[in-house]
């Protein structure tokens, strides 16, 4: 009998585990990048809003670059640039750096919008009550402006989560890269793509609906 060694084989239960691990990596890189990006973005947004420092003047246009160049190009550029300046980052870390900065450039816009939404009269009122600059930020700007732009921030965060699929170009095996590998091996693209799509959808759809509900409730 001839031994049959097949490069292609059907979809096996162990493949499900492979996909689950990859989904976990998608979550991991997303949550990390969104967290870092949000903190950075709020700080950047605040600097641009205040606009006092020379740094803030250049910050806007610099962040604009990250919104005007495809993420995939940014990833390839950074991954190939890091070794040039002596940094040896693995695909995961490179991905986190690029996604975080990309996320920050989007959040900065949202955060600035939130601060502008509060409006000068309200802030003057807060200061007239004897609040310090920081108290005003903490107790007036954050709750009011934060509420105004929370739905936009959710949109940005979900966008970054979906865009994290692009880190696969660096070889990071997140959900879509894993799917691609499995598709090549099993030749069952419909099943695997459905699983991967369902994961993203199950994450994104409820959250975006919830944000939309909040937006409607807060609008009235």
């Amino acid at each position: 009998m001839e031994p049959t060694v097949s490069f292609f084989s059907g979809f096996q239960p162990s493949d499900l585990w492979f996909l689950a691990e990859a989904a976990w990596r998608t979550l991991l890189i997303s949550v990390l990048s969104i967290s870092i990006g949000t903190v950075l973005g709020v700080v950047f947004g605040w600097m641009i809003y205040e606009g006092k420092w020379p740094a803030a003047l250049t910050l806007g246009p610099v962040l604009d670059v990250f919104r005007s160049v495809p993420l995939i190009i940014q990833l390839v550029l950074f991954y190939n640039f890091a070794p040039i300046i002596g940094l040896n980052l693995d695909p995961f870390l490179s991905g986190v750096v690029v996604l975080s900065v990309y996320c920050a450039s989007l959040v900065a816009n949202v955060a600035r919008g939130g601060m502008e939404a509060v409006g000068l009269p309200m802030r003057r009122a807060a200061r007239s009550l004897g609040m310090s600059y920081w108290q005003d930020l903490r107790y007036v700007v954050l709750p009011i402006g934060g509420r105004a732009v929370f739905p936009s921030w959710v949109g940005v965060a979900l966008g970054v989560m979906k865009d994290s699929a692009l880190v696969s170009v660096l070889g990071y095996i997140e959900l879509l890269k894993a799917s691609q590998i499995l598709i090549t091996r099993t030749q069952e693209p419909l099943l695997i793509l459905t699983l991967a799509g369902a994961f993203y959808f199950a994450l994104s759809y409820p959250i975006s609906r919830y944000a939309a509900t909040l937006e409607k409730r807060w609008a009235t």
Binding site: I72, L77, F81, G86, L176, P189, G197, Y200, F201
Partner: protein, 220 residues
């Protein structure tokens, strides 16, 4: 730290090729926008005015386009449809995925636009003897277009950036061309840096043109 020698000459030599590929990028983005606007309008109207299976289908389209990664959608039009015997050229794959995505996002923008027009506008138009079609094309939709003009501009930019995913399915738009040229010369960083600049310029030109057009179009 900088023991890397930058070589810009090969990139500059292939600049004409890159610019030509940039035109392909523009073309596919523009086409996907046109298709996306037509389908997006239809999806919005269906979701607002119809019931039953047609409405569910339209809703499924919109939600899938908005809640899964663009790369997933690209894979679907590539591998997924390939599995059921529909084989398309990379160009058509990218164009379909982009149009699918744009239509979904634009549908939501259009819906918001329609909801912002008071019902009384339709009544006024109808009371003058206009048909439903005339009322929509001459009175309602021109107003909707003004409301969605800014989101529409953003969507064009987004389509340009998103078309870079073509590189992952072997489509020679700007990114795909860059990758092909870069892998031939191993000057990956230099090539992608120049491409990033080209994308930036394209985006700025689109935004500038959009602003000029808006000034001409909306004098009210």
């Amino acid at each position: 730290m900088f023991d890397y020698n930058f070589h810009w000459r090969p990139v500059m030599k292939s600049l004409p090729d890159l610019l030509e590929a940039g035109l392909v990028t523009l073309q596919v983005a523009a086409l996907s926008m046109i298709i996306g606007i037509v389908i997006g309008l239809a999806l919005a109207l269906i979701r607002m005015h119809m019931r039953g299976p047609v409405k569910w289908l339209a809703s499924a389209w919109v939600e899938l386009a908005r809640n899964t990664p663009a790369l997933f959608q690209l894979f679907f039009f590539g591998f997924g449809l390939g599995a059921v015997g529909i084989h398309m050229s990379p160009y058509v794959i990218v164009l379909s995925a982009l149009s699918f995505n744009c239509a979904g996002y634009l549908a939501e923008n259009f819906r918001g636009g329609f909801q912002a027009i008071p019902d009384t506008q339709l009544r006024a138009a109808r009371s003058l003897g206009m048909t439903v079609w005339q009322s929509y094309t001459r009175v309602i939709i021109p107003q909707v277009f003004r409301i969605v003009y800014h989101p529409l501009t953003n969507q064009i930019v987004w389509a340009v950036l998103m078309s870079s995913l073509g590189m992952l399915v072997g489509f020679r738009e700007l990114s795909g061309e860059t990758q092909a040229l870069a892998s031939r010369t191993y000057r990956i960083f230099e090539y992608f840096a120049v491409t990033a600049v080209i994308y930036y310029v394209i985006v700025k030109i689109i935004l500038g043109a959009s602003r000029l057009l808006a000034a001409r179009l909306f004098r009210y």
